[in-house]
């Protein structure tokens, strides 16, 4: 973040809120047919909902993200990092909280306050573990819709998200087109390639191969930390790029001049990945990784995206789309964004597309970049 950003006005202290619904016997029926309830979604809001309730923007977080998209908690220590998209959301920023009411829910299946495999199963009184029903991106979005209904919002000014967050955006557009004025999918895809599934499978196998995993029943005991750390290491490689790793690490050694001729880790990249792995273990649940990666592997909106015109444009204006990709993203490369654009063009949708040149790989959308900020500000403001 640059220095001037620190002098910008910031959000007032933010609070994590909770909404619980689908209380038994009225459980939510998931796409798989399984029933789940009660469901709690943790969420945060920034800015104010106007009286017409038409200025809401839903921010969908990526796979390991959370509801803390911007600002600081009142309990944060001095210098604590703000939310994960703080450079984008706030007064006068790309998504201007002086104009828009921003809602960021933690996704179903996660472990950052929303119901997931680490939540208590009311039927047994202990954590769900693998008894948690398999959920999909469709189920994630259905629960988000319940929250939006609860907030009294009939139509969102926009839904925006990167990576798995972008999948949620597309799911919103096919599932509830009448509720979405605009959708912004960043570094995202209509469905996983074999490459993306492969990396997710390595992550899952790594967790399940950890002797502490115990078929998901590790709560209260030793957790599969090693497996989860390795899963995160693999993930991190896919979020970076060859260029970014060359620039940042190259073959530089970590705190040493010569090779150790052992396996303690010589290279900076090894040390970086180990650090990312152990950091992740402290904040994330291994079973949540299994469920969310599987949900993103199952995700496929190629067919419904192509048929959007059949249901759209009758009783409301059509959804406006913005698709953004990054030149160095090898997890969801530009060709996948272009397939989405092509599908939308073929079905007569209003779509804009921009490929941003950046060498930092898939995670580029999480790194402050004035180009993305300007694009998004202009896109949302241009809908008025």
């Amino acid at each position: 973040m640059n220095i001037t950003a620190d002098r910008q006005p910031t959000l007032p202290p933010v609070v994590k809120q909770y909404y619980t619904f689908a209380e038994p016997p009225a459980e939510q029926v998931l796409e798989s047919g399984a029933r789940l309830g009660p469901i709690t979604l943790a969420y945060e809001t920034y800015g104010a909902l106007n009286t017409a309730k038409d200025n809401a923007i839903l921010v969908a977080h990526a796979f390991s993200g959370d509801s803390h998209a911007a600002g600081n908690y009142p309990t944060d220590a001095e210098g604590e990092k703000p939310g994960w998209w703080d450079f984008m959301i706030g007064p006068g920023r790309g998504i201007d909280t002086n104009k828009y009411f921003v809602v960021c829910p933690n996704i179903l299946g996660s472990c950052m306050g929303s119901t997931g495999p680490s939540s208590l199963n009311p039927a047994t009184g202990s954590p769900y573990g693998l008894d948690f029903p398999m959920m999909t991106i469709g189920d994630i979005v259905t629960t988000q819709k319940m929250l939006i209904d609860h907030l009294g919002i009939q139509r969102l000014h926009g839904v925006i998200g990167g990576s798995v967050g972008g999948m949620q955006v597309l799911q919103w557009c096919v599932g509830y087109p009448e509720m979405v004025r605009s959708g912004v999918a960043i570094a995202s895809t209509m469905r996983h390639s074999a490459l993306a599934i492969a990396f997710n499978e390595i992550a899952r196998q790594s967790i399940m191969a950890d002797p502490n995993w115990k078929k998901g029943k590790y709560y209260g005991g030793n957790k599969p930390d090693m497996g989860l750390a390795v899963a995160r290491m693999v993930g991190h490689v896919t979020y970076l790029s060859d260029e970014a790793m060359r620039r940042k690490f190259g073959r530089k050694l970590q705190n040493k001049e010569t090779f150790s001729f052992g396996f303690d880790g010589d290279f900076q990249i090894e040390s970086y990945l180990r650090h990312q792995g152990s950091k992740f273990v402290n904040r994330f649940d291994a079973n949540s990784v299994l469920y969310i990666t599987k949900a993103s592997d199952y995700f496929d909106v190629v067919e419904p995206m192509g048929k959007i015109e059949d249901r759209d444009g009758k009783n409301h204006e059509i959804t406006k789309y913005l698709v953004v990709s990054y030149t160095s993203d090898w997890l969801y490369p530009t060709y996948q964004a272009k397939e989405l654009v092509k599908t939308l063009k073929r079905s007569g949708q209003d779509v804009s597309f921009c490929e941003i040149e950046a060498d930092c790989g898939h995670d580029a959308f999480l790194i402050p970049d004035q180009r993305l900020t300007t694009l998004i500000r202009g896109f949302f403001d241009g809908l008025a």
Partner: protein, 210 residues
């Protein structure tokens, strides 16, 4: 939503803009910073889309609220269903296209009418340069040398009319214009256009079996 300054729009774009029916669907190929699309949206309630190869320009268009795709126009036009647009605009780009016949075929497929503008290489100043100086023509409208010019097609108004007829298009309207070096002012030329016009603007349509 957007703040187009009509004074800043090139004269040939103003001529093009004047021919477009209000409320129509328009595709602008090589839309640059989106001046024409913004003007059309504001003044003619046009539902416009642009295609622009340059990332910075495409981003600038999106940031001013326009619907613009960053990409190569030769490829991007392939994806649209037939007659997706009332007008497809190709302004001052035809002379840079590698396969003009193929591109025009696509444009006439996706648009009911196609508006094409291009610099007239048979303008008298160009003829004189070639005749008297014996060098490849260079002027304010065509400021390039032979080795760095993006203009790989040398077209005259006469050439274009023949080409349009040969590939099966009706020329609905022909507007020959001269314009000052900055392109902000100009006038319509009516006589001896192949010699006197700096640019030609043509509205063409495919002869469709009814």
């Amino acid at each position: 939503m957007v703040l187009p300054d009509t004074d800043n729009i090139r004269f040939d774009l103003r001529i093009i803009a004047s021919t477009i029916e209000p409320g129509s669907r328009v595709l602008d190929l090589g839309c640059g910073n989106g001046d024409l699309l913004a003007w059309l949206a504001d003044n003619k309630r046009v539902n416009g889309t642009g295609i622009e190869q340059d990332m910075t320009k495409a981003a600038a268009c999106i940031a001013r609220g326009l619907s613009v795709l960053q990409g190569d126009l030769n490829e991007e036009v392939e994806d649209y269903p037939d007659c997706s647009f009332d007008y497809v605009i190709l302004s001052q780009t035809l002379q840079q296209v590698f396969e003009p016949a193929r591109l025009l075929y696509s444009l006439a497929r996706i648009g009911r009418k196609v508006i094409v503008s291009f610099p007239n290489f048979s303008h008298y100043s160009i003829r004189l340069q070639l005749l008297c100086k014996g060098i490849a023509p260079k002027n304010d409208q065509l400021p390039y040398s032979w080795y760095d010019s993006p203009n790989i097609r040398v077209i005259t108004l006469k050439d274009f009319k023949k080409f349009a007829r040969d590939v099966g298009y009706n020329i609905l309207r022909e507007i020959a214009i001269s314009s000052d070096p900055a392109g902000s002012e100009g006038r319509i030329i009516r006589n001896f256009i192949n010699i006197r016009a700096a640019y030609g603007v043509y509205i063409i349509e495919k002869i469709r079996p009814s």
